[in-house]
Assembly symmetry: C2
Homo-oligomer: 153 residues x 2
DNA sequence: TTATTTAGGTCAGCCATATTGACTTAATTA
DNA sequence: TAATTAAGTCAATATGGCTGACCTAAATAA
Protein backbone atom coordinates (compact mmCIF):
# COMPACT_ATOMS: atom_id res chain seq x y z
CA UNK A 1 0.00 0.00 0.00
CA UNK A 2 2.77 2.40 0.93
CA UNK A 3 4.56 1.57 -2.29
CA UNK A 4 1.41 2.01 -4.30
CA UNK A 5 0.86 5.39 -2.70
CA UNK A 6 4.35 6.44 -3.63
CA UNK A 7 3.76 5.42 -7.21
CA UNK A 8 0.53 7.35 -7.41
CA UNK A 9 1.66 10.48 -5.61
CA UNK A 10 2.91 13.17 -7.94
CA UNK A 11 6.49 14.13 -7.22
CA UNK A 12 5.60 17.54 -5.85
CA UNK A 13 3.33 15.99 -3.22
CA UNK A 14 5.99 13.64 -1.90
CA UNK A 15 6.68 13.92 1.78
CA UNK A 16 10.23 14.97 1.05
CA UNK A 17 9.11 17.79 -1.19
CA UNK A 18 6.57 18.95 1.36
CA UNK A 19 9.15 18.89 4.11
CA UNK A 20 11.25 21.22 2.02
CA UNK A 21 8.32 23.61 1.99
CA UNK A 22 7.94 23.33 5.76
CA UNK A 23 11.55 24.36 6.12
CA UNK A 24 11.21 27.18 3.63
CA UNK A 25 8.30 28.55 5.62
CA UNK A 26 10.34 28.49 8.81
CA UNK A 27 13.49 30.03 7.36
CA UNK A 28 11.76 32.58 5.18
CA UNK A 29 9.60 33.83 8.02
CA UNK A 30 12.62 34.12 10.24
CA UNK A 31 14.62 36.04 7.69
CA UNK A 32 11.61 38.14 6.78
CA UNK A 33 11.18 39.46 10.33
CA UNK A 34 14.87 39.96 11.01
CA UNK A 35 15.23 43.38 9.37
CA UNK A 36 12.39 45.16 11.16
CA UNK A 37 13.34 43.43 14.43
CA UNK A 38 16.75 45.08 14.36
CA UNK A 39 15.25 48.54 13.84
CA UNK A 40 12.65 47.98 16.53
CA UNK A 41 15.25 46.85 19.03
CA UNK A 42 16.95 50.24 18.92
CA UNK A 43 13.79 51.97 20.11
CA UNK A 44 12.96 49.27 22.64
CA UNK A 45 10.06 47.88 20.68
CA UNK A 46 9.45 44.37 19.42
CA UNK A 47 7.71 42.53 16.68
CA UNK A 48 4.37 42.98 18.43
CA UNK A 49 4.68 46.74 18.06
CA UNK A 50 5.31 46.37 14.36
CA UNK A 51 2.19 44.31 13.88
CA UNK A 52 0.06 46.89 15.63
CA UNK A 53 1.59 49.74 13.66
CA UNK A 54 1.22 47.80 10.45
CA UNK A 55 -2.48 47.09 10.79
CA UNK A 56 -3.37 50.49 12.21
CA UNK A 57 -1.52 52.03 9.28
CA UNK A 58 -3.38 49.84 6.88
CA UNK A 59 -6.84 50.49 8.20
CA UNK A 60 -7.34 53.93 9.60
CA UNK A 61 -9.81 54.22 12.45
CA UNK A 62 -9.49 50.59 13.34
CA UNK A 63 -11.09 49.79 16.70
CA UNK A 64 -9.42 47.83 19.49
CA UNK A 65 -11.80 44.97 18.95
CA UNK A 66 -11.04 44.78 15.25
CA UNK A 67 -7.33 44.88 15.94
CA UNK A 68 -7.65 42.08 18.47
CA UNK A 69 -9.51 39.92 15.99
CA UNK A 70 -6.82 40.48 13.35
CA UNK A 71 -3.95 39.74 15.70
CA UNK A 72 -5.78 36.98 17.56
CA UNK A 73 -4.27 37.86 20.91
CA UNK A 74 -5.93 38.82 24.19
CA UNK A 75 -6.59 42.41 25.10
CA UNK A 76 -4.25 42.02 28.06
CA UNK A 77 -1.46 41.12 25.67
CA UNK A 78 -2.29 43.98 23.37
CA UNK A 79 -2.56 46.51 26.16
CA UNK A 80 1.12 46.75 27.05
CA UNK A 81 2.19 47.16 23.47
CA UNK A 82 -0.60 49.55 22.55
CA UNK A 83 -0.13 51.69 25.66
CA UNK A 84 3.53 52.09 24.84
CA UNK A 85 2.70 53.12 21.29
CA UNK A 86 0.13 55.62 22.53
CA UNK A 87 2.34 57.00 25.32
CA UNK A 88 5.20 57.47 22.93
CA UNK A 89 2.85 59.11 20.43
CA UNK A 90 3.07 56.67 17.57
CA UNK A 91 -0.65 56.02 17.73
CA UNK A 92 -3.49 58.41 18.50
CA UNK A 93 -6.73 57.30 20.08
CA UNK A 94 -10.08 58.94 19.59
CA UNK A 95 -13.62 58.07 20.60
CA UNK A 96 -15.73 56.33 17.99
CA UNK A 97 -19.32 57.08 16.97
CA UNK A 98 -20.29 54.25 19.23
CA UNK A 99 -18.78 55.91 22.26
CA UNK A 100 -17.70 52.63 23.78
CA UNK A 101 -15.26 52.11 20.96
CA UNK A 102 -11.95 53.76 20.23
CA UNK A 103 -10.51 54.56 16.89
CA UNK A 104 -6.81 54.10 16.27
CA UNK A 105 -4.75 56.08 13.81
CA UNK A 106 -1.03 56.52 13.24
CA UNK A 107 0.51 59.89 14.11
CA UNK A 108 3.06 61.39 11.77
CA UNK A 109 5.73 59.74 13.93
CA UNK A 110 3.85 56.47 13.67
CA UNK A 111 3.55 56.74 9.92
CA UNK A 112 7.25 57.33 9.64
CA UNK A 113 8.07 54.27 11.70
CA UNK A 114 5.56 52.21 9.79
CA UNK A 115 7.14 53.24 6.53
CA UNK A 116 10.65 52.58 7.74
CA UNK A 117 9.76 49.09 8.92
CA UNK A 118 7.57 48.04 6.04
CA UNK A 119 9.99 49.37 3.47
CA UNK A 120 12.54 46.81 4.62
CA UNK A 121 10.09 44.02 3.96
CA UNK A 122 8.71 45.54 0.78
CA UNK A 123 12.17 45.93 -0.71
CA UNK A 124 13.05 42.42 0.28
CA UNK A 125 9.99 40.95 -1.38
CA UNK A 126 10.29 43.19 -4.42
CA UNK A 127 13.87 42.07 -4.93
CA UNK A 128 12.74 38.48 -4.86
CA UNK A 129 9.79 38.98 -7.20
CA UNK A 130 11.93 40.84 -9.71
CA UNK A 131 13.72 37.60 -10.43
CA UNK A 132 10.54 35.87 -11.57
CA UNK A 133 7.92 36.15 -14.24
CA UNK A 134 4.25 36.83 -13.75
CA UNK A 135 3.36 33.17 -14.01
CA UNK A 136 5.61 32.17 -11.12
CA UNK A 137 4.38 35.09 -9.06
CA UNK A 138 0.78 34.15 -9.66
CA UNK A 139 1.44 30.62 -8.51
CA UNK A 140 3.17 31.92 -5.44
CA UNK A 141 0.40 34.34 -4.52
CA UNK A 142 -2.41 31.88 -5.12
CA UNK A 143 -0.77 29.20 -3.02
CA UNK A 144 0.17 31.57 -0.20
CA UNK A 145 -3.43 32.69 -0.11
CA UNK A 146 -4.65 29.13 0.26
CA UNK A 147 -2.16 28.54 3.04
CA UNK A 148 -4.15 30.88 5.28
CA UNK A 149 -7.07 29.38 7.17
CA UNK A 150 -10.32 30.05 5.36
CA UNK A 151 -11.71 31.83 8.41
CA UNK A 152 -8.90 34.38 8.35
CA UNK A 153 -9.05 35.32 4.70
CA UNK B 1 9.16 60.82 -10.44
CA UNK B 2 6.80 58.98 -8.18
CA UNK B 3 4.21 58.96 -10.94
CA UNK B 4 6.72 57.77 -13.48
CA UNK B 5 7.75 54.99 -11.13
CA UNK B 6 4.17 53.91 -10.80
CA UNK B 7 3.75 53.83 -14.54
CA UNK B 8 6.85 51.75 -14.97
CA UNK B 9 6.29 49.34 -12.10
CA UNK B 10 4.57 46.16 -13.16
CA UNK B 11 1.31 45.62 -11.35
CA UNK B 12 2.63 42.72 -9.29
CA UNK B 13 5.42 44.86 -7.88
CA UNK B 14 3.08 47.60 -6.66
CA UNK B 15 3.36 48.40 -3.00
CA UNK B 16 -0.22 47.32 -2.48
CA UNK B 17 0.40 43.92 -4.00
CA UNK B 18 3.54 43.47 -1.96
CA UNK B 19 1.73 44.42 1.22
CA UNK B 20 -0.74 41.65 0.48
CA UNK B 21 2.20 39.26 0.42
CA UNK B 22 3.49 40.61 3.73
CA UNK B 23 0.13 39.86 5.28
CA UNK B 24 -0.05 36.44 3.69
CA UNK B 25 3.30 35.60 5.21
CA UNK B 26 2.14 36.67 8.65
CA UNK B 27 -1.20 34.89 8.54
CA UNK B 28 0.01 31.75 6.83
CA UNK B 29 2.86 31.31 9.28
CA UNK B 30 0.51 31.79 12.19
CA UNK B 31 -2.00 29.27 10.88
CA UNK B 32 0.77 26.90 9.91
CA UNK B 33 2.11 26.65 13.45
CA UNK B 34 -1.27 26.51 15.17
CA UNK B 35 -1.90 22.79 14.72
CA UNK B 36 1.37 21.49 16.18
CA UNK B 37 1.22 24.13 18.94
CA UNK B 38 -2.04 22.66 20.21
CA UNK B 39 -0.59 19.16 20.37
CA UNK B 40 2.60 20.37 22.03
CA UNK B 41 0.67 22.28 24.67
CA UNK B 42 -0.89 19.07 25.99
CA UNK B 43 2.54 17.66 26.78
CA UNK B 44 3.87 20.94 28.14
CA UNK B 45 6.12 21.57 25.18
CA UNK B 46 6.26 24.54 22.84
CA UNK B 47 7.18 25.42 19.32
CA UNK B 48 10.87 25.38 20.21
CA UNK B 49 10.63 21.70 21.08
CA UNK B 50 9.06 20.99 17.72
CA UNK B 51 11.91 22.70 15.88
CA UNK B 52 14.49 20.67 17.73
CA UNK B 53 12.63 17.43 17.13
CA UNK B 54 12.11 18.32 13.49
CA UNK B 55 15.74 18.96 12.68
CA UNK B 56 17.07 16.11 14.78
CA UNK B 57 14.61 13.86 12.98
CA UNK B 58 15.74 15.18 9.65
CA UNK B 59 19.45 14.81 10.21
CA UNK B 60 20.40 11.88 12.40
CA UNK B 61 23.50 12.37 14.51
CA UNK B 62 23.31 16.11 14.35
CA UNK B 63 25.65 17.79 16.82
CA UNK B 64 24.65 20.53 19.22
CA UNK B 65 26.71 23.03 17.31
CA UNK B 66 25.06 22.15 14.01
CA UNK B 67 21.63 22.39 15.58
CA UNK B 68 22.46 25.81 17.00
CA UNK B 69 23.55 27.06 13.62
CA UNK B 70 20.32 25.86 12.01
CA UNK B 71 18.08 27.35 14.66
CA UNK B 72 20.20 30.47 15.10
CA UNK B 73 19.59 30.66 18.84
CA UNK B 74 22.05 30.67 21.70
CA UNK B 75 23.10 27.50 23.44
CA UNK B 76 21.55 28.83 26.64
CA UNK B 77 18.21 29.04 24.87
CA UNK B 78 18.56 25.61 23.41
CA UNK B 79 19.63 24.03 26.67
CA UNK B 80 16.31 24.23 28.49
CA UNK B 81 14.39 22.79 25.57
CA UNK B 82 16.94 20.13 24.74
CA UNK B 83 17.35 19.04 28.35
CA UNK B 84 13.61 18.57 28.61
CA UNK B 85 13.57 16.50 25.45
CA UNK B 86 16.44 14.38 26.69
CA UNK B 87 15.05 13.98 30.21
CA UNK B 88 11.70 12.91 28.84
CA UNK B 89 13.43 10.51 26.46
CA UNK B 90 12.40 12.02 23.14
CA UNK B 91 16.01 12.56 22.18
CA UNK B 92 19.03 10.38 22.89
CA UNK B 93 22.51 11.80 23.23
CA UNK B 94 25.70 9.95 22.43
CA UNK B 95 29.31 10.94 22.27
CA UNK B 96 30.66 11.73 18.83
CA UNK B 97 33.88 10.54 17.25
CA UNK B 98 35.32 13.89 18.26
CA UNK B 99 34.63 13.25 21.91
CA UNK B 100 33.89 16.90 22.60
CA UNK B 101 30.79 16.67 20.43
CA UNK B 102 27.48 15.01 21.06
CA UNK B 103 25.29 13.33 18.55
CA UNK B 104 21.54 13.73 18.75
CA UNK B 105 19.01 11.18 17.57
CA UNK B 106 15.30 10.72 18.11
CA UNK B 107 14.16 7.83 20.27
CA UNK B 108 11.16 5.82 19.18
CA UNK B 109 9.06 8.12 21.35
CA UNK B 110 10.69 11.11 19.69
CA UNK B 111 10.06 9.73 16.23
CA UNK B 112 6.43 9.22 17.06
CA UNK B 113 6.03 12.77 18.26
CA UNK B 114 7.90 14.11 15.26
CA UNK B 115 5.60 12.22 12.97
CA UNK B 116 2.49 13.33 14.77
CA UNK B 117 3.49 17.00 14.61
CA UNK B 118 4.86 17.06 11.10
CA UNK B 119 1.94 15.14 9.72
CA UNK B 120 -0.36 18.01 10.66
CA UNK B 121 1.75 20.40 8.62
CA UNK B 122 2.35 17.97 5.78
CA UNK B 123 -1.35 17.29 5.40
CA UNK B 124 -2.09 20.96 5.52
CA UNK B 125 0.38 21.77 2.77
CA UNK B 126 -0.58 18.76 0.70
CA UNK B 127 -4.22 19.81 0.80
CA UNK B 128 -3.25 23.23 -0.46
CA UNK B 129 -0.97 21.96 -3.21
CA UNK B 130 -3.60 19.52 -4.45
CA UNK B 131 -5.65 22.49 -5.62
CA UNK B 132 -2.93 23.68 -7.97
CA UNK B 133 -1.05 22.53 -11.01
CA UNK B 134 2.64 21.87 -11.29
CA UNK B 135 3.30 25.29 -12.80
CA UNK B 136 1.82 27.15 -9.86
CA UNK B 137 3.63 24.91 -7.42
CA UNK B 138 6.93 25.50 -9.16
CA UNK B 139 6.46 29.24 -8.95
CA UNK B 140 5.61 28.94 -5.30
CA UNK B 141 8.62 26.80 -4.47
CA UNK B 142 11.08 28.88 -6.43
CA UNK B 143 9.92 32.11 -4.85
CA UNK B 144 9.82 30.69 -1.33
CA UNK B 145 13.36 29.52 -1.82
CA UNK B 146 14.50 32.98 -2.83
CA UNK B 147 12.77 34.43 0.21
CA UNK B 148 15.35 32.79 2.42
CA UNK B 149 18.60 34.67 2.98
CA UNK B 150 21.30 33.40 0.70
CA UNK B 151 23.51 32.54 3.67
CA UNK B 152 20.89 30.18 5.06
CA UNK B 153 20.13 28.21 1.93
C1' DT C 1 -37.05 51.54 32.18
C1' DT C 2 -34.41 48.15 33.81
C1' DA C 3 -31.43 44.33 32.67
C1' DT C 4 -28.06 42.57 29.76
C1' DT C 5 -24.49 42.79 26.61
C1' DT C 6 -20.57 44.95 24.60
C1' DA C 7 -16.10 47.65 24.28
C1' DG C 8 -12.50 48.76 26.64
C1' DG C 9 -9.32 48.88 30.67
C1' DT C 10 -6.56 47.16 34.54
C1' DC C 11 -4.31 44.32 38.16
C1' DA C 12 -1.93 40.23 39.32
C1' DG C 13 0.44 36.19 38.43
C1' DC C 14 2.23 32.87 35.33
C1' DC C 15 4.81 30.65 31.35
C1' DA C 16 7.74 30.18 27.12
C1' DT C 17 11.31 31.79 24.43
C1' DA C 18 14.81 34.34 23.79
C1' DT C 19 18.95 37.33 25.16
C1' DT C 20 23.84 38.71 27.41
C1' DG C 21 27.67 37.76 30.29
C1' DA C 22 30.63 35.02 33.04
C1' DC C 23 32.63 30.87 33.96
C1' DT C 24 33.81 25.65 33.77
C1' DT C 25 35.29 21.14 31.86
C1' DA C 26 37.14 18.11 28.61
C1' DA C 27 39.03 17.16 24.20
C1' DT C 28 41.37 18.47 20.14
C1' DT C 29 44.71 20.89 17.50
C1' DA C 30 48.49 24.12 16.59
C1' DT D 1 52.45 22.79 26.15
C1' DA D 2 49.19 26.46 24.82
C1' DA D 3 45.24 27.72 22.45
C1' DT D 4 40.97 26.63 20.60
C1' DT D 5 36.66 24.26 20.36
C1' DA D 6 32.26 21.86 21.96
C1' DA D 7 29.38 21.60 25.41
C1' DG D 8 27.33 22.88 29.83
C1' DT D 9 25.79 25.90 33.57
C1' DC D 10 24.40 29.95 36.51
C1' DA D 11 22.24 34.31 36.82
C1' DA D 12 19.76 38.17 35.33
C1' DT D 13 16.74 40.31 31.92
C1' DA D 14 13.30 41.23 28.08
C1' DT D 15 9.41 40.15 25.32
C1' DG D 16 5.17 38.35 24.20
C1' DG D 17 1.97 35.62 25.24
C1' DC D 18 -1.70 33.54 28.65
C1' DT D 19 -5.71 33.11 32.50
C1' DG D 20 -8.70 35.01 35.89
C1' DA D 21 -10.90 38.57 38.24
C1' DC D 22 -12.89 42.76 38.28
C1' DC D 23 -14.35 47.60 36.73
C1' DT D 24 -16.67 51.44 33.97
C1' DA D 25 -19.46 53.32 30.56
C1' DA D 26 -22.36 52.93 26.67
C1' DA D 27 -25.56 50.57 23.79
C1' DT D 28 -29.21 47.47 23.18
C1' DA D 29 -32.91 44.08 24.37
C1' DA D 30 -36.68 42.65 27.28
Amino acid sequence: MADLNKLLTPLFLNEGEIRKIIELLFFSYRDFTEGPDKVLEKINFGRAHHRVIYFVGKQKNLTIKELLSILKITKQSLSRVLNQLVNEKYIILSVGEDKRTKKLILSKKGQELEKRLSEIQIKRIRNVLLKFNEMDINGFKKIMYEMVDEINR
